[in-house]
C-alpha cells in the first residue's frame, strides 16, 4: 500500500508542491501534471493508484477530464475545488469522482480521504463484515450490532447503512444515495433521506444530535466513517 502512486493534476505550482511534500511524508509516491492533457498522458503511462484532480484546469475543464478518464480508468479520483461550488462538486461526484476537497484544505482531511478512497477501491468484494468503532455490520446476513447489541433496523435503514458502510470514508451525494436505496424515481426526495438519516443516527450514534459516524456534507451529501 505504501507504494501507491498518486497523480497530482493541478496548474498551481504551490499546490502541487504542498501535496507532494505532504503525500511523500506519508509514504506515497507522487507524480505531477500541470494541465489536463498532460494529466491524461501521465495516467496512461504511469497507471497511478489514485488521482488528485483540480477542477479549475486551464486547458480542459476538470469535468471533461473526469468523464474521459472514467471511460477507461477505474481507480479512485479525488477532485480539488474552491469553496461555495457545491454544484460543481456534486456534478463531479455524479460523473464518477469518489471524493472531493475544497481549498484551502487541512492535511488531516486530505490523508483521510485518500485512505478512504483507496480502501473503497479494494473492499468491493472483501469481507462482508465491517467493523467501525463499536459498530459492526454484516451485509450479507443483514445483521448490525452496536456495542455487541443487536440493532433493530428497518429494511430501508439497513440498506442505507450498508451503502454507507461499503463506502466508508467517502462522500456520497444525496442523489446517489436516493438512487441506490430508494430507486431512480426518488432522486429528488431529499426529505426522505433526511428523515431516515436522522432515524439511523438515533440508532447508531452515541449522541444522535452530535453525529460522529454519519456526517453531513452540506450541499453535497453524507460521509460515513471515522
Amino acid at each position: 500500500m505504501n507504494t501507491d502512486t498518486i497523480l497530482i493534476v493541478d496548474d498551481e505550482t504551490q499546490i502541487r508542491r504542498l501535496l507532494e511534500i505532504t503525500l511523500s511524508a506519508s509514504g506515497y509516491k507522487t507524480i505531477e501534471a500541470s494541465t489536463g492533457k498532460e494529466g491524461l498522458l501521465m495516467v496512461a503511462s504511469h497507471q497511478p493508484s489514485l488521482i488528485i484532480l483540480d477542477l479549475g484546469l486551464p486547458d480542459i475543464d476538470g469535468i471533461d477530464v473526469l468523464k474521459n478518464l472514467r471511460e477507461w480508468f477505474h481507480k479512485p479520483i479525488i477532485i480539488l475545488s474552491v469553496r461555495n461550488s457545491e454544484e460543481d462538486i456534486v456534478h463531479a461526484l455524479d460523473k464518477g469522482a469518489n471524493d472531493y476537497l475544497t481549498k484551502p484544505f487541512r492535511t488531516g482531511e486530505l490523508l483521510a480521504r485518500i485512505r478512504a478512497s483507496l480502501r473503497q477501491g479494494q473492499t468491493a468484494n472483501d469481507t462482508p463484515i465491517f467493523q467501525i468503532g463499536d459498530l459492526s455490520v454484516d451485509v450479507a446476513n443483514h445483521i448490525a450490532k452496536k456495542k455487541d447489541e443487536l440493532l433493530d433496523l428497518t429494511p430501508t435503514e439497513f440498506s442505507l447503512l450498508s451503502l454507507f458502510v461499503k463506502n466508508q470514508g467517502c462522500v456520497l451525494t444525496h442523489q446517489y444515495i436516493l438512487k441506490e436505496v430508494w430507486g431512480y424515481g426518488y432522486v429528488e426526495q431529499t426529505q426522505y433521506l433526511r428523515v431516515f438519516v436522522a432515524q439511523l443516527r438515533k440508532k447508531i450514534e452515541d449522541n444522535p444530535t452530535k453525529p460522529t459516524l454519519l456526517v453531513t456534507e452540506s450541499g453535497i451529501g453524507y460521509r460515513f466513517g471515522l
Partner: protein, 889 residues
Amino acid sequence: MKMEENRPDPDKLLTSINQEEETKKRGKLKIFFGMSPGVGKTYSMLQTAHIDLSKGVDVVVGYIESHNRPETSALLEGLEIIPRTKIEYKGTSLEEMDLDAIILRHPYLVLVDELAHTNAEGSRHAKRYQDIQELLDNGINVYTTVNIQHLESRNDTVAQITGVTVKETIPDELFEMADDVELIDITPNVLLDRLAEGKIYGLPESREAAKNFFRKGNITALREMSLRLVADRVDKQLKSYMQQKQIAGPWKSGLHLLVLVGPSKSSAKLIRWAKNLSYTMGADLVALHVENTQVLNEEQQEQLSKNIDLAREFGAEVIITSGSDLVSTTLDIAHKENITHIIIGKSGKQSFFSSLFSRDNFVNRLLKESGEIDIYVIEPGFEAKQYKRKLVSYPDFSSSYKHYIIAFLAVLSTVLLCLPIVRETGYQSISFILLFVILILSMFFRLGPIMMASAVSAVAWDFFFITPQYTLKITQPEDLLAFCMFFAVALVTGTLTAKVRKQERLTRKRAEKTNALFHLTKQLANAENTKKILEVSKEDINNYFGVDAYFLLQDGEGRLKKKQQNAKPGDFTESEYSIAQWVFKHSKKAGKYTDTLSLSEYTFYPLKGMKTKAGVVAIKPKKKFNGETELFWDTFLTQISNTLEHHDLAQQAKKANLLDESDKLYKTLFNSISHELRIPIATIMGASDTLLADSHPEKVRKELYNEILTASGRLNRLVENLLNISRLETGKITLHTDWCDMNDLFNKVTDNLRDELKPYRLDIVVPQTMPLVKLDFGLMEQVLHNLVYNSCKYSTPGTSIRLKSFYDNEYLIIQEMDRGPGFPPDTLPFVFNKFFKTEHKTTGGLGLGLSIAKGFVEAHKGTISVENRQNGGARFTIKIPTKISYINE
C-alpha cells in the same frame, strides 16, 4: 447716504472684470458716429475697412447704403459683398441684410451701415441693431454708422433743436457698450458746402426738403452735442479703466439714482434725462412707479407701459409698488435701495384749489422730507402734458347701458313710490329717501350711472315734489339751495363711494396677484420632481394669465430638448423650435408681440435661473401683456426658473453626494482590508522566517507552527467574508434550497468553530418534533457561523452560548444568544450596517459579519433582529417563512 471712501467697490470691480471676460468672446463693435447725414461716416468706415483689408483682415460688406453718393459707391470696389436677402411680406419684396449668410460666412469683420434702421416685417429681428447684437454674440466684429439723432436719450433734444423728430432710435446701451466710437467731425461750413454741391442729396428737391434741418444754428448745436457725447464716453471709459486697475481716482462710486415714472410723455423724457445723468455720474438707476387709486385711461396705461419698457431698456431696475401717499412711499423705497439722488418732474403750476386742500404740493413735501437724499427737479419740457393730481378723477364712463337703465328705473320707482306719501312726510324728507337710493346705487354702479341718477333724481325731486308740484319751477329760495345741495351731495356721495369701490377693486387686484404668486410659490415648493413643477406651473399660469404654457427644458448639457415636457397637444414645428433655440441661446424673449421674429404664433420666453438657463416657455397670448402684467409674468417665470434650477442642482448635488458616499465607503473598505490582511501575513512571514533561520526546540517550533496555522485561518476567514459581501453587493446570491435538518445545521456550525467554542458552554435546543425546513444550507451555515463566532469573540470564557430553533406559525425561528457585553442601546439600529464594530478591546475583523448574515437571511426573504437580554448579553432572532415537511415512514 454718505459717500464711501475712495476704495474700489468690489461689486463694481467684479462687474468690470466679468465684462472684460465677456468682451473677449464677443465680437467688437466700432461705431462711426456723426452729428448728421453727410459728414462722411460711411465713407470713413469704408476707408478704414480697406486699410484693414490691406493688412489681411477678413472683411465683408453686410449692408452699405450708399445713397447714390458716387464717392461712397466707389469705395465698395474690392470688398466682398454678402448679397442681400429678399423679404417677402404681403406681396411686396424688400431687400434686407442677410444675417444668416453673414453668420455662416463668419468673417472676422463685417460692415453694417445705419445702426438705427428698422428691418422689414418678416425679418428675424425688428431692428438692425438687434441683428448686429446677434453678429457680435457670434463672435463677429462689426463696423457700423449712426447719427446722434438716433440715440434714445438725445432724440428729444435733437427734435427740439431741429424741429424734426426722428422715429428710428437705438437704445443708449448699444452706444455705451461699443468698444470703439469714432467721431466723424466736420465744421458746419464744410457740411453746408457739401449740401450745396449736391454731395449729400443728389436731387434738388431733396436738398430743398432738407434745408430746414441743415440750418447753421442746428448743425452747430448738433456738433456740440456730438462732441460732448463722445467726450463723456471717454470719461466713462477712463473711470472704468481706473476702477479696474484699482487706481483710486476721484470717482463718485456708490451713487444710486431714482426716477419716478408716471403715465405721461414728460415722464418718458424724465427717464431719458435720468439715464443721461446716470451715464455721466457712473451711477445706477432705479425707476419707480407708485400705483395709487387714480384710474388711468387707455392712453395713459399705454404710455405708462411704454415708459416702464423704456426704463428697462435703459437698464434701470424697475420697481412697481403701490401706496396712497406718493411721498412716503417714494422715500421708503429710496431708503431701502440706498438712493442718493431722486429725479422728479416739476408738477407745474399748482391750482389754487388744490393748494388750499392738499397739505403741500408733492415737490415741496419731498424736498422737506428727503433728508440726505438730493433731489433733482426737472422741467418736463414743451411737449409735456401736465399730469396734475386731481381730487376728482375723470369720470369712468365704462358702464354698460344696462346699468344706466337700472339706475334710472330705480330712481323712477322710488319717485313713484314716494308720491302717495309726500303729504305725510313733506317734500324735504323725500330728498333723503332719494339720496338714500343714490347711495345704494353707488354701491353697485360706477360713476356714470350714479351721475345720471343724481341728475334725474334732482330733477324728479324738483318736478314731482318741490312746490309747485309738477313743474320745474322753484319758488322758495331755500328750495333752490336744497336742490343744488341735493345734487352736489348726490354727486359727491356717489363719487366717493365709487372711489372707495375703485380702491377696493385695486386692492383686490393686488391681493389677487399676491395670492397667485403665493400659490405658485407654495406649489413649487411642494413639487418633488420636474414633472410636478411643470404641472403646477402650467396650472397657475392658466389660472392667472389665461394662457396655456408649453415648456421646453434643457437636456442637461446646455442644449434645448427637442420634445417638450409633457408633449401634448401638438409639438412645435421646426421653425418654432428654432425660435425656441434662439431664445434659449440669447436669453431674450422672441415671437409674437416682441421685437424679434414677431411673425410666430407663439411668444417664447427664456427661463433664466440664478446661474443657469433652465429652458424656454412658449405661450399664445391673445393680446400683448401690458407693462404691469409683463412684470408680473416676469416674476412668475423667475420663480419657476429658480425652482427648476434649484431642483436640477439638488439632483446634481445628490449624485455628487452619492459618489462621495460610495467613495468614502470604498476608502473605508480599502483601509480596513489592507490592515486586516497585513497582520496575519506578517505573522506567517515572521514565524516562517524564525523557523528557517535557526533550529528551535520542538515546543517553540510547535508554537510557531500554530501561529502560522491560526494566521492562515484568519486570512481564510477574511477572504470568505469579502467574497460573501461582494456576492451580496452584486446581487449574485441564488438560493439553493433543500430540506434541512436543523440539528445538522447547528452541528456543522459548532463543529467548524470547535476550537473557538472550547471555553464556552454550548447549548443546542432543537425540539424533538422539529420538522425539516427548506433552506439554503450553505448560506444559513454562514449566518450562524458569523453569529457564533462573534459571541465567542466577545463573551467572557465560561459563559453560555445558545442556539435555539423552533417552528411557529409558518415561520422558522432561529435564535442565537450569549452572555457577552451586548450592544450599547443607541447602536442597536446600526448593528447590521457594514463595517459596524462596537468599541471593544479585541479589535480585528472588518465588521462585515453581521451585515453578511443579514444579507443571507434576507435572501431567504427572512428577517434578523437583535436585542439586549435582560440579564446581559445579546440575542439574535432570525425569522424565515418556509415550507416544512414532516415525513413519517
